[in-house]
């Protein structure tokens, strides 16, 4: 009984946080891209456009839901569901932090720990292809069909180097459970025991291969061929409108979050701090938030726009309050690991957005050639060398 109640509470919290993050990731992306292109981005709805995701959701829900004629009705409706379900399921095995004790109940900051956690995420993400492929096929539209075809070809191709890149750190950690994976990287409690730098063979190459394939798997620039608008209108979701269209976007962002979290767990030590707490890694979040608060306050004193006179001091005080929160010993035990996990995941998510603002799109033959002639052989060699060295030194 206690188990069911705790699991339900955890599932509700994770779902609420995940869905809010999905909505606000869109806002972050628009803001970051805007600043890369030297423009303010969303600014009208709420202070600094902070209520823009809410407005977008209302807009998408109230839009007319169109169904193209002669489309395969069942599959046309099912495709966005498949996409969004497979994208959201993976979060159930991702651990966010170590075991914590809340009101006398000891529990893990994770919905469930599978002994096959890594393979489970791979299996679920491999099912995600169907959402896009079937959406393209069911739309009864040439552009959508071509987009669906491109995307399934691309996702099958890049799944291979990605799986091989995942296999190498597993050789070092010797486990398939995501929780034990992090525990195996926390030996010295510093950056040196993370799989990306850990001996006998640092997994820096696997990390890069994994990240490149992750861009392709999530259909992001520079690999967003399935929705290349100058050739394919909008690709597989050309015919979709309203919430069905929004589900594809939710799926894309949820996949980005999952794949960033996987990279953090596999290579970057999960919730382990970059250096031991004895050398003051516990003060980093306090200093960061305090600095952000001070900057916001000082800008609030000399506002560039009239609205900033009220919004920036409020942000500054909120940041300072968070900085103080990180100093409380009661919450430090679970807040610090959570901070490090979210900070690493956030940094990778920022990389996704940064790349989108920087790189142009690949040509289709380049995309396939890159996967099969470059990435795949390198991943195989990397796996062989890792296996050899692990066997040699153990």
């Amino acid at each position: 009984m206690e188990f069911i109640v705790i699991s339900l509470i955890k599932a509700a919290v994770v779902l609420a946080v995940l869905l809010t993050t999905l909505a606000y990731l869109q806002w972050v992306e628009r803001k970051v891209i805007a600043h890369i292109q030297v423009r303010p981005g969303p600014y009208r709805v709420g202070p600094h456009g902070l209520l823009q995701p809410l407005a977008d959701v209302i807009k998408l829900i109230t839009k007319e839901d169109l169904m193209p004629p002669h489309a395969s009705k069942l599959l046309f409706v099912a495709a966005p569901f498949i996409s969004v379900t497979t994208a959201l399921i993976s979060i159930s095995v991702i651990p966010f932090g170590p075991a914590i004790t809340v009101a006398g109940h000891r529990t893990w900051m994770q919905l469930t720990d599978l002994s096959m956690g890594v393979l489970f995420v791979l299996a679920v993400s491999s099912m995600g292809v169907y959402g896009i492929a079937l959406a393209g096929w069911a739309s009864n539209n040439k552009y959508a069909l071509l987009g669906g075809l491109r995307s399934s070809a691309q996702m099958i191709s890049y799944e291979l180097p990605q799986s091989l890149a995942i296999a190498s750190p597993l050789l070092l950690s010797n486990t398939l459970s995501l929780r034990e994976l992090v525990e195996s990287q926390s030996a010295t409690g510093s950056v040196l025991s993370w799989n990306i730098l850990h001996g006998p063979f640092p997994q820096i190459f696997s990390f890069v291969i994994f990240l490149i394939s992750a861009f392709a798997e999530t259909n992001r620039i520079p690999f967003d061929l399935p929705e290349a608008e100058n050739e394919l209108v909008a690709g597989f979701h050309t015919e979709y409108s309203s919430m069905k269209f929004a589900s594809f976007f939710m799926a894309e962002y949820a996949n980005m979050i999952t794949v960033s979290a996987m990279a953090v767990l596999l290579f970057l030590g999960g919730w382990v701090a970059p250096w031991p707490a004895a050398y003051g890694s516990g003060l980093v979040p306090t200093l960061l938030f305090a600095a952000a608060g001070v900057i916001a306050l000082s800008h609030g004193l000399r506002p560039a726009r009239r609205r900033d006179r009220y919004s920036l001091p409020v942000f500054g005080i909120v940041f300072l309050a968070i900085a103080v929160l990180f100093l409380l010993p009661v919450v430090q035990g679970w807040l610090l690991p959570l901070f490090w996990f979210l900070a690493k995941t956030g940094a990778l998510l920022f990389t996704f957005i940064w790349v989108r603002g920087t790189l142009p799109r690949f040509r289709y033959d380049q995309l396939m050639g890159f996967a099969w002639k470059f990435l795949f052989p390198i991943a195989v060699v990397n796996l062989l060398v890792t296996g050899l060295l692990v066997a040699w030194f153990s």
Binding site: L75, M116, L119, L122, A123, M127, Y130, L134, L145, S152
Partner: protein
């Protein structure tokens, strides 16, 4: 609980299996086949073969069936027309099917007597470690021979495709 889940997914697997044959459109058949693979994965999981279950989803439902769907989409195969059944099929179809099922049931009964019963949760050697150990010790030769066989099949496919190009 295990028994109920087994019944649900066994029924789903059989229904999807029948649907593969009954559907006229290749893509509906392919999706039914994905349903069969998925239910089989759950049945493996119920029997304690967790690695096999995940491998089933990754390899069959994830990779093989995606290629099926991909090829169907690429060829843009339409729905097949239903032709009138021949007289022999109408007359002998059902009796032959019943005879086949009866024969299968009889042989299963003979080969696996009632003394050996399946018990859920009793088998624990289905993890990645155990499967890997078995593959690289007891079944090393069949495992390696199978991989060579697959390599030969790939080479054959390339040779055939080459001939087509020239």
């Amino acid at each position: 609980m295990d028994g109920i889940l087994f019944l649900i997914f066994a029924v789903v697997a059989v229904l999807c299996g029948i649907n593969v044959v009954v559907q006229t459109h290749p893509i509906s058949s392919a999706i039914s086949l994905i349903g069969v693979m998925g239910s089989l994965a759950v049945l493996y999981l119920l029997l304690g073969a967790e690695f096999l279950a995940v491998a089933q989803v990754i390899v069959y439902a994830g990779a093989v069936m995606v290629l099926f769907v991909f090829v169907i989409m690429l060829l843009n195969a339409g729905a097949e027309a239903r032709k009138g059944r021949s007289f022999m099929v109408q007359l002998l179809g059902v009796p032959l099917l019943v005879a086949l099922l009866g024969l299968l049931a009889y042989f299963v009964q003979r080969l696996f007597p009632q003394t050996v019963l399946v018990q859920f949760g009793k088998f624990t050697g289905g993890g990645a470690r155990e499967v890997g150990r078995a593959l690289f010790t007891t079944y090393l030769l069949p495992f390696e021979v199978t991989s060579v066989l697959i390599l030969i099949a790939i080479l054959g496919a390339i040779v055939l495709a080459r001939k087509e190009l020239e």
